[in-house]
């Protein structure tokens, strides 16, 4: 892992943080602004990825592989989640012919 570390450490950590913050904020913004459920799922994916990037960066800087393991976890969980999410969206589409989340308010209190 040594070579990777030296390569990574040649790039300042701030760059990674700024990049993942931008990516995360874009994800949040996308979820908040868009009404298409599939795009929203994609934006969630974007947020997850920004976190993954950060985890990988910190892991490399610290010379500790725990963060990279976590990245794999997140990937697995995200994959499973997307499978469920897409299934739900598919069902919603079959019932309403739409994936616009603003019309789904059946969970109203």
């Amino acid at each position: 892992m040594g070579e990777v570390n030296t390569f990574m450490q040649s790039i300042p950590l701030e760059y990674f943080i700024i990049l993942s913050s931008v990516l995360f904020s874009l994800g949040v913004l996308g979820v908040l602004v868009r009404k298409n459920a599939i795009v929203m799922l994609g934006c969630v994916e974007l947020m997850l990825n920004s976190v993954n990037l950060l985890l990988a960066a910190f892991s490399a800087y610290n010379g500790n592989s725990d963060g990279q393991l976590l990245v794999f976890f997140i990937m697995v969980v995200a994959a499973a989640e997307v499978a469920v999410g897409l299934a739900i969206i598919a069902m919603l589409y079959r019932n309403t012919r739409s994936v616009d989340v603003s019309i789904f308010n059946k969970l109203r209190g």
């Binding site: 979820v31 989340v101 969970l107």
Partner: protein, 637 residues
């Protein structure tokens, strides 16, 4: 013998159950005779037991079953047969069965015929439980039982609201006394670790003479007794209890209920003897009650109310005897009073029956020739209670007078005046009802008739007992050694101390003095008789409506405004407290509780708006929340 004892108690219960469950569908004759036969059966058994009993017999306890044990105190459901309980059982069932028999005639036109007999049997059952129980708890069960039955029977004609009120009044006033009694019983249990009479009697020596504890216990028991036996201050229910059918009045006044207080004190003589202070209190209350009630009775117009106040007054006499420590004298007066008071109440019922439910003496008069049997038996009752020489009432009352003289001649003077009052109101009642011109309506006059034989027979039997009842306890100068049979017979019931106290009271008067006292009462009796007769027969004075009396007569007719006083002092205060409580409840408690509830509801309602089911809103809120948390976190660092 054990089975016989249970049978005494169970027969009236059986009558109660049969009549209560099936009476509605049974013919009246069956219901009436069944109820009467049950009580008479108990009476027959009691007489049989009595014949096998003498003054030497030891008290016998029959334990039906072990009931429960609490805090080391074993409580059995048992019955005690001794001279006192046997005497009470004979009075209750003997007079009770006569009253049952009488009721068959009296209630024959009533819709609630079967209900009436059901209650009557339950009444007898409760009273038997009260006097036969072997401990204070069973006494209390019976005590409450007679309270319940008096409520049911006083309010028997429940469609009349006034009658219902009278029933409630009796019930509530009794409840006050019952609370005191219960406290007394608990106190006894905690002090002696027992509640059965025999163990307490044995352990009574542990109490300090006139100590605080014994005073507290006996005072509590006595307050209980004032409730049941209608003494000051809990006496006002008894005259109102006249709302019930007349046989009920006879039963309450003569055989049951009001004698319970006397019985309680005599039964607890081993405690009361230890508390001279309370005995003094009993004496005082007795005097006060006898005087007040005697005074009220002078100007009442309702025939039953005169008799009711007369009972209260006579009960006062009995408590005076108890206060003097003359326990058997009190029991003697209980017995003779039971005879003549039952006789007079049933007689009054017969009069009311003849007068088509008229109870006001102002509209009677001259009934002598229309209802001869009632008139004659009533006259005997009047003579007995007023003190005609050698009739039962005279002998028993004279014994109280002598006992009072031995204690303090002033007591005798007071009692002498009270006895004269008794004679005065009784003769007023007699002359207003049976002599002079008939003052009722033509219709009533036409309707006047002697009562059926089921009603007159009890009158005749009771009249015979009223005449002869005194013979069982003759004054000693007549008896020559065989005197005072009742006193000797009841001796085993009393503790040695009680008996000594009583003997000292009763034999403290020299023979010559006693003869003079006796002569004085006889002269007093004939003087009062003559005066009253002169006023109401020769001068033809009439009873006036309550409002037209003036001076002392008005005070008597309006009963010194005690009911109004109680109403103003107690009823209004309690009502005020109730209103205050209601206000507090409505304005403070309700508001506080409502505030909590409404707060939760309001916050829920406003939170509900956020839950619009829209995914975007949820995400927005979530993001904002995360943002806020981050910012706060940043600031705090």
């Amino acid at each position: 013998m054990e089975n016989l004892v249970y049978a005494i108690i169970l027969l009236p219960l059986l009558g109660f159950l049969i009549n209560g469950l099936f009476g509605k569908n049974l013919p009246k004759t069956v219901v009436g005779s069944l109820a009467t036969a049950m009580v008479f059966g108990s009476f027959a058994i009691a007489v049989y037991l009595f014949l096998n009993f003498d003054s030497e017999s030891q008290p016998q306890v029959f334990t039906a079953f072990e009931w429960f044990r609490v805090n080391g105190i074993q409580i059995n459901f048992g019955f005690l047969i001794d001279q006192l309980s046997l005497m009470m059982v004979m009075i209750i069932t003997g007079i009770g069965s006569l009253i049952h028999l009488y009721s068959i005639g009296y209630m024959s036109h009533d819709k609630g015929f079967y209900k009436f007999f059901t209650y009557l049997n339950l009444f007898i059952f409760s009273m038997l439980l009260l006097v036969m129980g072997s401990n204070y708890l069973i006494l209390f069960i019976g005590w409450e039982g007679v309270g319940l039955c008096s409520y049911l029977l006083i309010g028997f004609w429940y469609t009349n609201e006034e009658y219902g009120k009278a029933a409630r009044k009796a019930f509530i006033m009794n409840r006050i006394g019952d609370l005191a009694l219960l406290i007394g019983i608990f106190m006894i249990a905690s002090q002696t670790n027992a509640i059965d009479y025999l163990s307490i009697k044995q352990n009574a020596g542990q109490f300090e003479l006139d100590g605080t504890i014994i005073i507290f216990i006996t005072a509590s028991l006595f307050i209980g007794a004032t409730g049941k036996s209608a003494q000051v201050p809990l006496y006002t229910w008894l005259p109102d209890a006249m709302a019930g059918p007349t046989p009920v009045s006879a039963l309450i006044h003569a055989a049951t209920m009001v004698t319970a207080g006397i019985y309680l004190v005599v039964r607890s003589n081993f405690l009361f003897t230890l508390a001279p202070t309370v005995q003094g209190g009993i004496l005082f209350i007795g005097f006060l009650t006898a005087a007040l009630a005697g005074f009220y009775a002078l100007r009442q117009n309702d025939i039953k109310k005169v008799l009711a106040y007369s009972t209260v007054s006579q009960l006062g006499f009995m408590f005076i005897a108890l206060g003097l420590g003359a326990y058997t004298t009190a029991m003697f007066h209980v017995m003779t009073h039971a005879f003549f008071k039952a006789l007079m109440f049933l007689g009054a019922g017969s009069v009311i029956h003849a007068m088509s439910n008229e109870q006001d003496m102002r509209f009677m008069g001259g009934l002598k020739k229309y209802i001869p049997i009632t008139h004659f038996t009533f006259l005997i009752g009047t003579l007995a209670i007023s003190g005609f020489p050698l009739l039962s009432g005279m002998i028993s009352k004279d014994e109280i007078l002598v006992a009072a003289f031995a204690k303090n001649p002033m007591y005798w003077v007071l009692l002498f005046i009270l006895a004269a009052t008794t004679a005065a109101y009784m003769f007023r009642l007699y002359y207003l009802t049976f002599h002079g011109e008939f003052r009722g309506t033509e219709e009533q006059k036409h309707h006047l008739h002697e009562s059926p034989s089921t009603m007159t027979l009890p009158l005749i039997v009771l009249a015979i007992f009223s005449v002869l009842g005194g013979l069982i306890n003759l004054p000693h100068f007549i008896g020559h050694g065989h005197y005072a049979k009742l006193m000797e017979w009841l001796k085993p019931v009393l503790t040695e101390e009680s008996y000594k106290q009583m003997e000292a009271t009763l034999s403290g008067v020299p023979f010559g003095t006693e003869m003079i006292l006796l002569g004085a009462t006889v002269v007093m009796f004939f003087t009062v008789w003559f005066i009253v007769k002169n006023i109401y027969v020769n001068k033809k004075k009439q009873a006036l409506p309550e409002e037209q009396y003036t001076g002392w007569e008005k005070l008597s007719a309006r009963k010194l405004y005690v009911d109004e006083l109680y109403n103003a002092l107690i009823v209004k205060t309690v009502e005020g407290l109730g209103r205050g409580g209601k206000m507090f409840d409505k304005n403070v408690l309700d508001k506080a509780v409502d505030f909590v509830g409404e707060g939760a509801e309001d916050s829920g309602r406003s939170m509900k708006r956020i839950q619009n089911g829209n995914v975007e809103t949820y995400i927005l809120i979530m993001s904002l929340a995360v943002g806020i948390i981050l910012i706060v976190n940043f600031i705090l660092q």
